[in-house]
Amino acid sequence: MRGKRRMSYVLTVLMLGLFVLPVFSAPPKVKLTMFIWAGANQGVVPREVVRQYLRTHPNVEIEFWESNNTITYPKMVAAKQANPNNPLIHFGFFNIDASNRGDVDDMWLPLDEKKIPNMRFVHPSLRRPGNHGIGYGISAMGLMYNKNLVQEPPNSWSALWDPKWRGKVTFFDNNFIPLVLAARLNGGSEKNIDPGFKVWSENAKNIRALVTSNDQLKNLLVSGEALIAPWFTSIWKFWELEGAPLGFINPKEGVVAFPIYLQIVKGSTPEQIRIAEEIINELLAPENNARYARLTFGIPSVKGAQIAESVRQILNPKLLDTAIWLDWATMAQRASEWRQRWEREVKSRM
């Protein structure tokens, strides 16, 4: 009898443990993955904002995916194909190229201004159609050169295909900006790219090498293998601060404006979307936006965010008035077709 009572006591305790206690235990954490760019202080502000957010939201876990858009974006498309409701990345930073490719692939969620009230302070030129992402800053592309070996730096984009610079030019293999610039400066456009291909196929020998990483680009310029390259002010400034003998010129035709955006990826759960919205709103606070821009040598997107003097010295916001704004939507649609032509008409003649 006593044994039976003891047994029923033990069973009751076990049942309590199994069915009642979990109700009072902590709920499962909501997990998100945020994309940030690697290096050049890109991760400082996002990490600070997320750290602050997690202090007040202990049930949230955010993992950072640190890479570049070129490598990560195809993986996001692969994940979307495998399971549209389980994205690889839930939100984060995407440049204008990836943002436009995402439009083609239906990758982004429209952002809700009611839930991200700081969106209304973003400069109108950095809003995206249908609120598929929101601008976070602008970097600019100009001409970088080796200061030790180039006495008279070029002041025009046309130097890239000018025979004077035979075998002295380098840029990224997947970067179609030089192609589009050649088209635009020779009577074409993104929608009429033939003049660009003509110029580059005739002057393919200008290209010393096409690179696939920032390190390669820097090595080629610093070693003197190549002398000029189209690249970003922000990255050039970091290299200059490291002591690399590199100078930078804003071409007379204007720098190429290169906006960056914050995006939320389709397929995220309502809870993940809410958290991403809250963090994006916090990132868009003027003080965070200004700090990000100062640390990465870019121009902030939010009205009221102060532009640091260190940034003004290399990238005066007035430059953006005369900047070249490319048609990235067309470029995203034609990128693959252009790559095939680029391999046949330019790379095979290098």
């Binding site: 083609v104 293999d173 790379k347």
Partner: protein
């Protein structure tokens, strides 16, 4: 002991399972994209052979295939030509096991370093301002730097270096299994070194040579990092076509190029295995 029946299945199951889950299924899923279409920056999920058609009707594809095959052939021949004498010397001339192990480690060492690091090492050596050109210039042999980087030669030199251990070790391994009395008997019967080498050593070590060819050729055919970093965009081979199309989300064309690469590798393996079967075994 010969393992047969159910036991053999159990022994093979883990390896087959891993291969199926982590290799065959992902590969199959990717290759299926070849039966879709890519239009206006998007994959159109209709079942069609049009991507295969446009790939194989394009003369540029054959140029890329030709570059891949010729590059792999040259690298393989270079590796076997360099690897055989090294393996022979290691087997016949180096008597001390300690020194042999040390040389073996030295020869093996390229494989202990990441391919990216090795390739950057070649960049430092082959650049216009690199070590080789600087030495030749200082010695008064050249006045202008030799174009060693960002062209076919740079890629061939680097790939041949990277793959050299894959040539030396199979040949060396087969040499160690050779019956030394055969060579001695030939010499006793009056054959000189050359005759003994061409009629005894070389035929008996051919399985090692063929294995070296197989490994070097397939690895060179699928090499990606070296052609990309040291080719500087000039060397267009099939693995780069797969990569570039994958990055552009043009997976249908990437899949067709991948399928072609796979077919070439399988064909090479099949031919080489057929040759191996006809060779005398040691």
């Amino acid at each position: 002991m010969r393992i047969q029946g159910l036991l053999a299945v159990w022994f093979l199951a883990p390896a087959l399972g891993i291969m199926t889950i982590f290799y065959l299924i992902p590969l199959g899923v990717y290759l299926l994209n070849g039966f879709h279409l890519f239009q206006s920056g998007k994959i159109v999920p209709i079942w069609t052979l049009r991507t295969f058609g446009s790939f194989f009707q394009d003369p540029f594809s054959y140029r890329v295939i030709g570059t891949s095959l010729s590059l792999s052939t040259v690298v393989t021949l270079l590796d076997v030509a360099l690897g055989y004498p090294i393996a022979y010397a290691l087997h016949t001339r180096v008597k001390s096991p300690g020194i042999r192990a040390l040389i073996g480690l030295l020869l093996f060492s390229p494989l202990l370093v990441s391919v990216v690091v090795r390739t950057y090492g070649w960049f430092i050596l082959l650049a216009n301002q690199g070590l080789i050109n600087a030495l030749l210039k200082n010695a008064g042999i050249i006045s202008q730097p030799l174009p060693l980087l960002f062209n076919t030669w740079g890629v061939i030199i680097s790939l041949a270096h990277i793959l050299l251990p894959f040539s030396i070790f199979p040949i060396y391994s087969i040499m160690t299994r050779m019956d030394p009395t055969l060579k001695e008997a030939a010499r006793d019967l009056g054959a000189n070194w050359w005759k003994a080498f061409t009629q005894i050593t070389l035929p008996l070590t051919m399985p090692g040579v063929i294995t070296a060819i197989l490994i070097c050729f397939t690895l060179a055919l699928s090499a990606f990092v070296t052609p990309q970093l040291l080719g500087g965009g000039r060397i267009q081979v099939l693995p780069l076509t797969v990569y570039n199309n994958t990055v552009e989300i043009n997976w249908p064309t990437g899949a067709v190029a991948g399928f072609t690469l796979l077919l070439l590798s399988i064909t090479a393996i099949w031919i080489i295995n057929a040759i191996l079967r006809r060779l005398p075994s040691i």
